[in-house]
Symmetry: C2
Subunit: 881 residues, 2 copies
């Protein structure tokens, strides 16, 4: 006969941790602990194979199961020295479901099974606590009625409420034994009214509960849960059933219940941490009426139990090789461990524990890397509000958590004011309906940015992340009036100069000033952990940085070069934009070249700054990318000023703006198309890049410039421009008489480029995947417009993830893979990287790591530490497979 | 010793037509004709292998070449009974280059070689025509100087002009023998001044000419020509050199020259057609001073020559199996054929000749199919201006030839007027700056459409092609004032009501009314030819049609179903658009459903009309595709009216317009995204489609509806909508109790759909490639905006073709291939077609035919005959390979 029932108790179990498939997670854990000699309440597990049999055979059980359960229960009686159904010394059990994967929606727990009109009296006598016994009984009646018999739990709740009303009390605990006895009768009446009979026979109770557990495997909620979470029916046998002896912490002063962590879950300190509530059950802790004691007090009250707990906890941590969160109950001086699991911890603790455990030789460096979540790194690097202070503040709205970090400042409603106030030493939060390139100066001056419109990839979000500045965007409840200079949410109005706070990690907007905690920075354990990550990871990590300040941050955070410098950002600066506009309104090539001539020295200085910060590392500079109309003003008022500055009529300027207008600017006259129609722009930029490199080279620095041509879709585009660039660059290098190596390559961001990457690699010396735009083109999703349908797509599960946040593996990712393969097949020394925002997203990095042709990812400077960790995790996981 | 020189003459040649590689096209042709017994002037060809040797060995000749040339020339003297360099009976020759591929830019022809100060006198005596002899000599001096000696030809021209001035004459022919003698002396002086000597020795002349031919193979123009045309150096040996005896048609009345076609090149009639000029040389025909005689007159003048010519022409046509264009010269009663080639012909002739030749069993049906160019079919199907009448009319501007056909009408400047005037029996041309969906009624009413803006894929162009209506778009010289109602080009003004004409095949805009020729239509030989095409082609041909009228045309032209019905076009009609707008401004689902309810019966009638016309054939109906803002008015004036009609305030309407605004509508809230956010629209359309089908089914008709979901990029999109559609449709079919099969499929127009086609085919029952949008997304080219850079791309050869006209094989085409393969691999009975405009482009059809998984192409009704032919050609060509 097959074995269906696995006993555990008295230090020995028939199962173990590896038998998750048939014992479920819970059953395997209980068996494992038992084998470890941990004092677990004894019990047995009915295998998940029974569940499979149950459904394969029209909801019947295999032969011999009844006998095996009976035998196991007898063993339980022996071990517990109690008797199932006995009035004198009743054995009570809990019945729980437990599949290999934890699955909400299935029947969870029935406690106190075994109680009936007789045994309840035995329990009362045994515990010398009638109230406890009847409370246990009425709870059992309720749970059993609800979960096993299918009686609406509200019916029981109503009776309970009525009783409390009659007695004029508020809490369940204020009911006395007599009240509870009456309640028991009323509960039994509910059964009757429902046409059901509460089974007095404990055996009948047990089998009904077992039936209910197996039955719940196929209930609607469980099926839906599996469907939503992509768990396939045939990957699981079903659920197991755990039958475990009840223990009680409320049997006097020698009893109690508690929770303990093997290390401090807040700080990570290697010292047990927890709480203990004497003479109480778990529920009492939850009810929160009595204040639990610190774990230390257990030591003085029950020193032997404490010693045993310490010893067990150490053993568990060593065995499971992770910080454990242990639930325990002491019944009359006897310690029972009810559950152990890896403990939840703060970011700081996660990092410290992982590093400490490597030093203690408990885990390997790879394991340490995998223990820390990328978001943990982000959290410790960005300022956070003091949790207590934050709890007191009023949250007035919630937007998208666009750029992590906490910030408080006086609300200002335009970029100019932000810059002015900042100069006067004020802290400000820049509040805008949405931001545009003209706001960049104000954004840099502000402590944080708040917008009422835009998504995670809006201008505000992208720029803020690039600056490492906290930002909340798309807080749509907020009405921002940037003319009258106030914001409004419901009745709350915040005027210019009033304090406001934002939490860029959660998207919360808070009224007033909230105190922030000190920032940890990239030092201590985190630095150590990331150094290990660097040893493990295969992918290089670069940063997207446009200015020396960002490049400096990137280097400090461990970036190994710049993967994307967007040169257009340089042209938005106050001293540049008039010159840029002069270039745009030029009527002849000569006029245009003259305007460019004025930009050249400025741009050269920009590059010198970047190169200096990145000495010895490659710097990828993208030629001008956005359509020219982005540099022209949009509003009438500004138009007049700009026309005046440029010395042309408003009509002329309007004509130019009109001529530059595009129906779909994303697919319009931009990227390399600009450089092909106006090669003089590319020439000026080449001169600035190579000129800067030559000057530093002469000073003895190692400079590695990479000139990147954007939006290439056809090999002829890069071919045409590469010829022009090389002609200019080679002549300059020859004239300067220096040795300077530079590369010319391209963004891969147009689907056609990915499909024809073999051809493009004949010209390109490197590829950098612009996965933002590649996602836009591949999906035909304008990221400025997806707000109209993406939320609904996510809600209706048409899409599982926002493809601008995490790379779409099947579509966009597949193009990345094809292009990387084709590119390297054509040119074996092709450098291949990713510079889209996905380069800083851990889930995307895991995918990129799986493409052997990819050499590096590049992300905003503040995400570099996250990317270092994520890249190491990806590699460690891949090696494991 | 290797053979380098191939002789031909006296009815026998050493080469033949198959030896093109070494003899070049010209040499092989002369050899072939000689072998056929055609009286060709004798001569010899120096093999192209010599050219290769020449360049491989530092511009020297292989051993033995000199001897072989000498020997060939001796044979030529024997056959011609003349002597090279003889004063009494001089042999003159022409020297011509000739590679396997005809190649402009290489040295072409030196005539009369062999003349010198002595032989010219012999020629004068022999011809008894001193003027002729010196004219030949001065021409030779000029050609030889220019082509062989590298003397600027303008120097000779100047002397000629001076001479004419001195003599006070205008034409060369007015110079007499004495003048020409003087000119000869002056020309020789030019040689001297250039430091060069004119070689009197004919052998030296000959070798210098041969050197020049081989030297010209590597001159700059020839190299550039090969580069531009993608001819690789190593695919060709080089050029051959042809040395041929000169014959003269100007040796009296028994001499002459002419051109003859074996059939009438204008009508295709099987009757020789040509001209003959007695006592003249080819140049005299070109000079156009004397009017040539009809070929018939040769019969009366030189009956034997005529008979011989007829016999030779018949032989040539039979041999080359095509209508021949024959150049001939009669020298003193002796007929010489100088050249034969396939004759150029009109569209009408091309079709008639091809069909006749099949009936004459001269060619196969496949060959007939390949002989007719797709544009021929288009030409005979569309009205054309009478060429003589057109020649008299004034062309005032040239735009893009957006939709073929000729049309005259009174100029009107708005759609409403067009409709009204049409009702009153007037013919009108609708002239607009550009058109929008609101102009569609006026476009239908007009004879033709003229716009000053927009490209080949602008609204005006696309709609006009769909209607088969002549259109010229983007005629940018024209200023259209639609307020004052006139157009202006330079000084020319055309006011409302004045006649104007357009030629949609050439893009010309003509002043006044121009008489058109009668339209041939799809009958007679064309119908026969297309029936053969149907037998041969593999691809099915469907039409893109939105209304019953178009469907009718499509069926008449042989369409085998509708590949794309754009339902949105139905909503732009006058009685629909107010209801559509009501739907758009609806605030609740209920309001929206109410508005849709009103549209349902109208839409159902639309579909009934289409289904009836297409009985027995599949009809693919695309669900609503464009973004909703396209249905709302753009101008302030209209906004007010529409707000009034809808019973809402202008402010409310403005807010809705603002909310619907998109930055990149091409990538925005449209296609299936609309249906997912507003499933009620898809439900209404499903009800209309299935309802219409059920009603006709009950009448006993065979109906095959295919419901097409646009813009799908992810399998979940079609999955989500297919469930909704099937629920509605299946319920209706069940309730109606009819047997109705329908399919649900998708457009493949988003790159992601192509890449994940295997997944999408799990849901889709058919694919239809929307190659217009697929090209936009794959290239990241907005076709509304490419005017800003595409012209420059084509000019700079960054792109060879406009990818919206002919499919880009490497990029977009590669996605089509991948998707078709993946789709059919998942679902073997998947129907796969193309419904983008490329479906009507012959070059694109050739590519589509090469994808075995593609089942059909669909194009505008008027292009169906073109597509039928092109598909047959593609298949015939593919089979040949």
């Amino acid at each position: 006969m097959e074995k269906y029932v696995y006993f555990f108790g008295n230090g020995k179990a028939e199962g173990n941790a590896k038998m998750k498939d048939i014992l479920g997670g819970k059953g395997a854990g209980l068996a494992e602990m038992t084998n470890l000699g941990v004092p677990v309440p004894p019990g047995f597990t009915i295998s998940a194979e029974v569940c499979k049999y149950y459904y394969d055979h029209g909801r019947t059980y295999p032969e011999g199961l009844k006998e095996q359960v009976k035998e196991a229960l007898h063993r339980l009686e022996e071990v517990s020295e109690k008797k199932f159904g006995s009035v004198e010394n009743p054995l009570l059990v809990s019945v729980r479901s437990g599949a290999a994967i934890s699955m909400p929606g299935m029947m969870d727990t029935v406690l106190n099974l075994g109680l009936n009109d007789e045994t309840v009296r035995g329990l009362a006598k045994l515990t010398n606590n009638e109230r406890f016994a009847y409370d246990a009984y009425r709870r059992f009646l309720q749970m059993f009625g609800d979960i096993v018999m299918g009686i609406d739990r509200l019916k029981f709740e109503k009776e309970l409420e009525k009783m409390k009303e009659e007695k004029g009390v508020k809490l369940d605990t204020e009911l006395d034994a007599e009240d509870l006895k009456k309640l028991v009768e009323k509960f039994k009446k509910i059964y009757k009214e429902e046409g059901k009979e509460f089974p007095q026979d404990p055996w009948e109770q047990l089998w009904k509960a077992i039936d209910a557990v197996f039955g719940s495997w196929m209930n609607e909620r469980a099926i839906t849960y599996r469907k939503i979470n992509g768990i396939k029916e045939d990957e699981l046998l079903g659920t197991a059933v755990n039958v475990v002896m009840m223990v009680f912490g409320n049997m006097g002063e020698g009893s109690g219940t508690g929770v303990a962590f093997t290390r401090n879950p807040n700080t990570g300190e290697k010292k047990p941490y927890g709480e203990f509530l004497p003479n109480a059950q778990g529920e009492d802790v939850v009810a929160g009426i009595r204040t639990p004691l610190k774990l230390d007090e257990l030591k003085s009250r029950l020193p032997e139990v404490y010693e045993q707990l310490m010893e067990v906890m150490q053993r568990l941590e060593k065995h499971f090789r992770d910080m454990q969160d242990v639930e325990f109950t002491v019944e009359k001086g006897k310690l029972y461990i009810l559950q152990t699991r890896s403990g939840k911890r703060t970011a700081t603790a996660a990092i410290k524990i992982a590093v400490d455990m490597v030093k203690e030789e408990l885990i390997t460096k790879e394991e340490a890397i995998l223990r820390v979540e990328p978001r943990h790194v982000e959290t410790v690097l960005h300022p956070m509000f003091d949790p207590e202070e934050k709890a007191k503040a009023k949250v007035i709205a919630k937007g998208l958590p666009a750029s992590p970090g906490a910030a408080s400042g006086k609300a200002v409603f335009d970029a100019k004011t932000a810059e002015e106030w900042k100069k006067n030493g004020e802290k400000v939060i820049l509040v805008r309906p949405e931001t545009s390139p003209e706001d960049v100066g104000g954004m840099a001056a502000a402590e944080g940015i708040l917008t009422s419109r835009g998504g995670m990839t809006s201008h505000a979000a992208v720029v803020a992340r690039g600056m490492g500045k906290p930002a909340v965007v798309g807080a749509e409840e907020i009405v921002v009036d940037d003319v009258e200079e106030f914001l409004k949410v419901g009745d709350v109005v915040v005027k210019k100069g009033e304090w406001i706070s934002i939490d860029g990690a959660t998207g919360e907007v808070l009224l007033g000033k909230v105190k922030a905690m000190e920032q940890q920075g990239l030092s201590g354990e985190l630095a150590e952990l990331l150094n290990w990550a660097d040893e493990i990871r295969r992918l290089g990590i670069r940063a997207n940085a446009d200015i020396p300040r960002d490049a400096k941050v990137a280097r400090e955070f461990g970036a190994e070069g710049i993967g994307l410098c967007r040169t257009e950002h340089m042209f938005f600066e106050k001293d540049r934009i008039p010159k840029m506009r002069k270039m745009i309104v030029a009527r002849t090539k000569e006029e245009r070249e003259k305007a460019l001539e004025e930009l050249l020295p400025l741009q050269k200085e920009d590059f010198k700054g970047l190169f200096k910060e990145m000495e010895g590392y490659p710097v990828t500079i993208r030629l001008l990318d956005p359509p020219l109309h982005e540099f022209l003003p949009k509003e009438q008022e500004q138009l007049e000023q700009v026309a005046k500055d440029l010395g042309i009529s408003v009509e002329e300027l309007e004509e130019i703006v009109e001529a530059l207008h595009e129906f779909n600017p994303m697919l319009g006259h931009r990227g390399c198309r600009l450089a092909i129609t106006y090669p003089e722009i590319a020439i000026m930029q080449t001169k600035a890049i190579i000129g800067a490199a030559i000057e530093l080279k002469k000073e003895g620095m190692e400079i590695e410039p990479e000139i990147m041509i954007p939006l290439v879709g056809h090999v002829n585009e890069i071919k045409y421009l590469k010829e022009i660039i090389e002609e200019v660059a080679d002549k300059m290098i020859e004239e300067a008489g220096v040795e300077l190596k530079y590369r010319v390559g391209t963004m891969i961001e147009v689907p056609r480029a990915a499909v024809t990457a073999d051809q493009i690699a004949q010209e390109a010396e490197f590829f950098s995947f612009g996965t933002n735009d590649l996602t836009q083109m591949t999906f035909a999703f304008s990221r400025d417009d997806i707000g109209k349908f993406l939320p609904e797509y996510l809600e209706k599960k048409v899409l599982d993830i926002d493809p601008f946040k995490t790379i779409d593996r099947d579509g966009v990712g597949s193009l990345v893979r094809i292009a990387a393969e084709k590119g390297k097949a054509t040119r074996s020394d092709l450098k291949v990287g990713v510079c889209g925002e996905h380069g800083g997203d851990p889930a995307s990095i895991e995918f990129f790591n799986s493409i052997p042709q990819l050499d590096y990812v590049s992300c905003s400077p503040y995400r570099v530490p996250v990317a270092r960790l994520a890249a190491a995790q990806a590699e460690a996981k891949q090696k494991k497979q």
